[in-house]
């Protein structure tokens, strides 16, 4: 497995070597740190453990389909797949980021790297890219399995009940691809938040706990945002509005239900959510780089 990863990233390296790097900030150094971080990520048992758990959640939907409480069987399978992807993916984003960042500090390998002519922001961006690539692989593996599971079941159901599938297949597989891209952005956004905590925290546990808390708050943030309008005091309302902007709305990315119900997601929605997540990630990574710049190693 490691050899496959190595071959894949070696191709990327050849491309990076061709890039001319002007100025002091080096894309190549960030890429090299990212490549090494990714190799470290895919060597962690945690990576495979969470992937297996997510696949297990998807597989269990076939065993538990009798308890689908009236929803369609395909939606039941999709819900399990989306749930596993979101939950275990988020756990992975938080734990992997903290572990891979603090691993470098605790083992003092960061000192060896930063004793090279390397900027701290290159190190932060490199770590983020490496974790992001790991998360991309996770989402790709789980989503491929989900698509396969849905397609196999939908095909067999279509053969059994052709009258119910008269208009063609119900699942919009192309939208699932968009959903996958949005999940990578969502997890990268969470990872960038954990990177911000890790950039000044002294323990990985603090970063993990804070990351989990922010994930939960961000997941429920839309409920609080909707009730801000009911607050009478303009000052308190404004303050809460600003605070709610500090934590991204993770609920925006929960398009799984709509896709599973066959609802058409327009491209503008996808693009807006992708831009929202990318901008937040950029903001948090910039803050993390700024904070890490002044950290004493």
């Amino acid at each position: 497995m490691s050899c496959l990863w190595s071959l894949w990233i070696r191709k990327g390296e050849k491309r990076m070597n061709k890039v001319s790097f002007g100025g002091e900030w080096s894309v190549r150094r960030a890429y090299l740190v990212g490549r090494n971080t990714f190799l470290e990520a895919v060597r962690l048992k945690l990576f495979y453990a969470l992937m297996l758990m997510s696949l297990f959640a998807l597989g269990s939907s076939f065993l538990l389909k009798e308890f689908n409480f009236g929803s369609s069987e395909l939606k039941f399978i999709a819900d399990f797949g989306f749930g596993g992807l979101t939950f275990f993916g988020s756990v992975m984003a938080v734990v992997l980021t903290a572990q891979l960042f603090f691993g470098e500090l605790e083992h003092r390998t960061a000192i060896t790297l930063l004793a090279k002519p390397m900027r701290r922001s290159e190190f932060i961006v490199g770590k983020f890219l490496g974790v992001g690539l790991g998360l991309f692989c996770f989402v790709a593996a789980i989503l491929s399995s989900l698509v396969l599971a849905l397609w196999v079941r939908e095909t067999s159901l279509a053969a059994l009940y052709p009258e119910s599938f008269g208009d063609g297949f119900g699942i919009r597989y192309f939208d699932l691809l968009g959903f996958g891209i949005l999940q990578v952005i969502r997890l990268a956004m969470l990872s960038s938040l954990v990177m911000l905590f890790a950039s000044y925290a002294t323990s990985s546990l603090f970063s993990i706990v804070m990351g989990m808390m922010v994930w939960l708050i961000g997941q429920l943030q839309y409920l609080a945002s909707s009730s801000i309008g009911q607050i009478e005091s303009a000052f308190v309302g404004g303050l809460l509005k600003v605070l709610s902007l500090m934590i991204p709305n993770f609920h925006l990315f929960d398009l799984g239900d709509r896709i599973a119900l066959g609802e058409v997601i327009v491209a503008a929605d996808f693009l807006w959510i992708a831009a929202y997540g990318s901008l937040y990630s950029l903001f948090y990574i910039s803050l993390a780089a700024l904070s890490f710049r002044y950290r004493e190693l």
Partner: protein, 283 residues
């Protein structure tokens, strides 16, 4: 131009358990000329690592400044000509020796092919030719120090900063590393050496600085520092029978009288400076 200039460096840290601040280094100044081997000595907690980190720009001084070849240490480009071996080096366990060197060489600006050929050459030079493709997780402490030395040299630095290069290494390995340090000097590199192995420092260093509790106790040319302010007398060419009359008429008997400055060891100087009470008790 000096390879390293440390000018009135002061650095203190917050103690995590209280509001107190501990001063790790206070008003420290020294310079290292190009091509010299400079020994930075001191007991544990004397501020050596803080000084090295400040030189490498890993810490921001409270006051004072550090520069490498005239460039302020806070600039990443100041480290482009520096190789650093950290104390108790720990590298990525999942990489092999050559993979580590290629990775760090590339970070220092080498192309992959250049980093690989130089890495192979260096691993052979430090005696790891049989462990080139072995995972670092399986290396012994001595092998880690050797691969650490190799990675410090991968970008052909003009300044080498070696923090305890012989820690955890057996005597044969320590002698090998001492020989390598001498070779690095012969190649024209400047070396800042931190070591508790004072015999090694005495053997290879041109200059030393001794720190204690964050302050500079003494610094200068090692030969000057080790000369005692007293003279000893040695008589040659005498047989045992003549010894009785020696004191009365040395010159009439045809003996030769040589007067030379006596020399203490670096261990003696170190103990005098950092633990004067202990030194007296021994006497």
């Amino acid at each position: 131009m000096n390879a390293v200039t440390v000018d009135r460096l002061t650095k203190s840290f917050d103690l995590s358990s209280s509001r107190l601040r501990v001063c790790a280094v206070q008003e420290l100044s020294f310079e290292i000329g190009e091509g010299r081997i400079f020994g930075l000595l001191g007991p544990n907690g004397s501020g050596k690592s803080t000084t090295i980190k400040a030189i490498l720009g890993l810490l921001t001084p409270d006051r004072g400044s550090c520069s490498i070849f005239g460039m302020p240490s806070q600039m990443p480009s100041s480290r482009s000509k520096v190789g650093y071996l950290p104390e108790g080096p720990f590298f990525y366990k999942y990489l092999s020796g050559i993979e580590l060197l290629v990775y760090l060489g590339q970070l220092g600006g080498l192309k992959r092919s250049q980093a690989k050929s130089r890495g192979l050459e260096l691993l052979e030079r430090v005696g790891l030719e049989d462990a080139i493709d072995r995972r670092i997780g399986g290396y012994s402490k001595g092998m880690l120090q050797r691969v650490g030395l190799a990675q410090a040299l991968i970008n052909d630095p003009r300044l080498l900063i070696l923090d305890e290069p012989t820690a955890g290494v057996d005597p044969v390995g320590a002698a090998d590393i001492t020989r390598l340090i001498q070779e690095f000097k012969d190649e024209g590199r400047t070396i800042l050496l931190c070591s508790h192995l004072l015999s090694q420092v005495e053997k290879v260093c041109d200059e030393v600085a001794v720190l204690s509790k964050g302050r500079m106790m003494v610094s200068g040319n090692i030969e000057d520092l080790l000369l005692k302010n007293e003279s000893s007398c040695r008589v040659r060419g005498m047989d045992a029978e003549s010894i009785d009359v020696l004191k009365k008429d040395i010159e009439r008997l045809g003996g030769s009288l040589e007067i030379e400055k006596s020399r203490k060891t670096l261990d003696e100087l170190f103990m005098e400076l950092v633990d004067p009470e202990g030194g007296k008790a021994d006497e």
